[in-house]
Symmetry: C2
DNA sequence: ACCTTATAGTTCATTACTGAACTATTTTTC
DNA sequence: GAAAAATAGTTCAGTAATGAACTATAAGGT
C-alpha cells in the first residue's frame, strides 16, 4: 500500500508544514503556488488510485477503463488507437497493450481499417457496453458525495479556476531554461 | 511521448465533450463532478510529467526529488525511510530503491539508527543541499507564471476549495460497495 | 520474563508505462 | 509521378512502481 491510507487532510497538512520549512530556508519560494500544485497532484492521485482499486475487482485498471469510456462515448463506439492514445494521454505503445487486454476480455474488437491500411479500428462490443453500464452507475454516489459539500456556484467556480490554470499551462513553456 | 504535447486546454475540451456524450447515454451521470475530478487528474499529471522532464536532466525523477525535498525540509535534514514513504505517499519498497539512488548519487547518507535497531536514518548531504538550492530556484518563474493570472484572493479561494475536497475524500469511503 | 503482535527494511516477482527502432502505409513536395 | 517526409501500429529493452514474503527488532499483555 502506498501511504497506508493516511487521511488526505493529514497529508495536506504535512505538505503545508514541509513547504513552510522549505520557505524558511529558501525565502523566495512561491510557497502558496507550490502548495496548490502539490495539492492538485495529491487529489488527482488519490482519485486515480481509489478508482483503480475499485476497477481491479473487475479486472480492469484506470487506463483500460478510460480507454473503454472513450470508446463508449465515441460515435458508433469506434476509434483508432492513435486517436485514443491522444485522448487518454498515453503512448501508442501502451495503447497497443491496452488493446490487447480489452480484446482478450472481449470488451473491444480490433479490425484493420479499410480506408487507411496503416490504421486499426477499435470498437466497443456489446459486452463492453454492458460492462460500462454496470461499472459506472455505482460510482455516482461516490462522485456526488465528494462534492456534496459544494454548491453549484462553488463547483462552477472551481471549474473556472482549473480551466484558467489549464490555459496557463499551455502558455508557460515548462521545458525551457535549466 | 504521452500525448504528443497537445495543449491542455484542447484535452480539457475533449474531456468535456466526451463526458457530455456519455451523459447522453447515461442520463444520471453527475457530469460536472466527473469533469472536475478528471481535470484535477489532468492538471496534476501535467505538472508531474513536466517537472519530471526537467529533473531528468539532472539525473533525478519526481519521486527522488520529492524525497530529497522532504529531507531538505526536515530538522537536521534527517528522517527514517518509513516516515518518508508516508510523507511522499510511496511504498516502503520503493523508498528502499529511492534511497539506493540518492545514496549512489551522494545526495543522502544512510546509517543504522542507534535508538531503534530496526530503523535506518537517511540524511541529506552537503551535496544534496547544494543540488536542491541549485534546482529549486529556477522553478520559481514557472510556478509564478502558472498562477500569474490569479489574484491572491483567487489563490486562497482555490486552496480552500481543494482543502474541502480533501476533507470530502477522507469522509467518503471509496472502497465500499461494488 | 515470555509469547504475541506490530513495525522497519529488504528481496523478489509482477504490473504498467515509456522511448527507440522497425515495418508498412499514406501524404507531401518538387 | 517518384523521392522524401510523415503517420500508424508493433516489438523490444529499460524504468518505476507495487504487494507478498522474509528477517530482525521492539512493544504490549498477562
Amino acid at each position: 500500500m502506498t501511504g497506508h491510507d493516511r487521511p488526505l487532510t493529514a497529508r495536506v497538512e504535512a505538505l503545508r508544514e514541509g513547504v513552510r520549512r522549505v520557505n524558511a530556508k529558501l525565502p523566495d519560494l512561491p510557497a502558496r503556488e507550490v502548495v496548490l500544485m502539490r495539492m492538485l497532484c495529491l487529489l488527482g492521485w488519490e482519485f486515480t488510485t481509489n478508482l483503480d482499486r475499485r476497477l481491479r475487482k473487475h479486472g480492469l485498471n484506470d487506463t483500460d477503463f478510460r480507454t473503454l469510456m472513450v470508446l463508449f462515448s465515441s460515435p458508433d463506439g469506434m476509434a483508432h488507437p492513435s486517436d485514443l492514445c491522444h485522448l487518454v494521454t498515453l503512448s501508442r505503445t501502451n495503447m497497443t497493450r491496452i488493446g490487447d487486454v480489452l480484446v482478450a476480455r472481449g470488451l473491444v474488437t480490433r479490425t484493420p481499417s479499410l480506408e487507411d491500411r496503416r490504421r486499426i479500428v477499435m470498437r466497443i462490443t456489446a459486452k463492453g457496453e454492458a460492462l460500462v453500464r454496470k461499472l459506472v452507475p455505482p460510482l455516482y454516489p461516490v462522485l456526488t458525495a465528494l462534492f456534496a459539500d459544494f454548491g453549484v456556484r462553488e463547483k462552477r467556480q472551481l471549474e473556472a479556476l482549473l480551466l484558467r490554470l489549464a490555459a496557463a499551462f499551455d502558455a508557460v513553456d515548462f521545458r525551457k531554461e535549466s
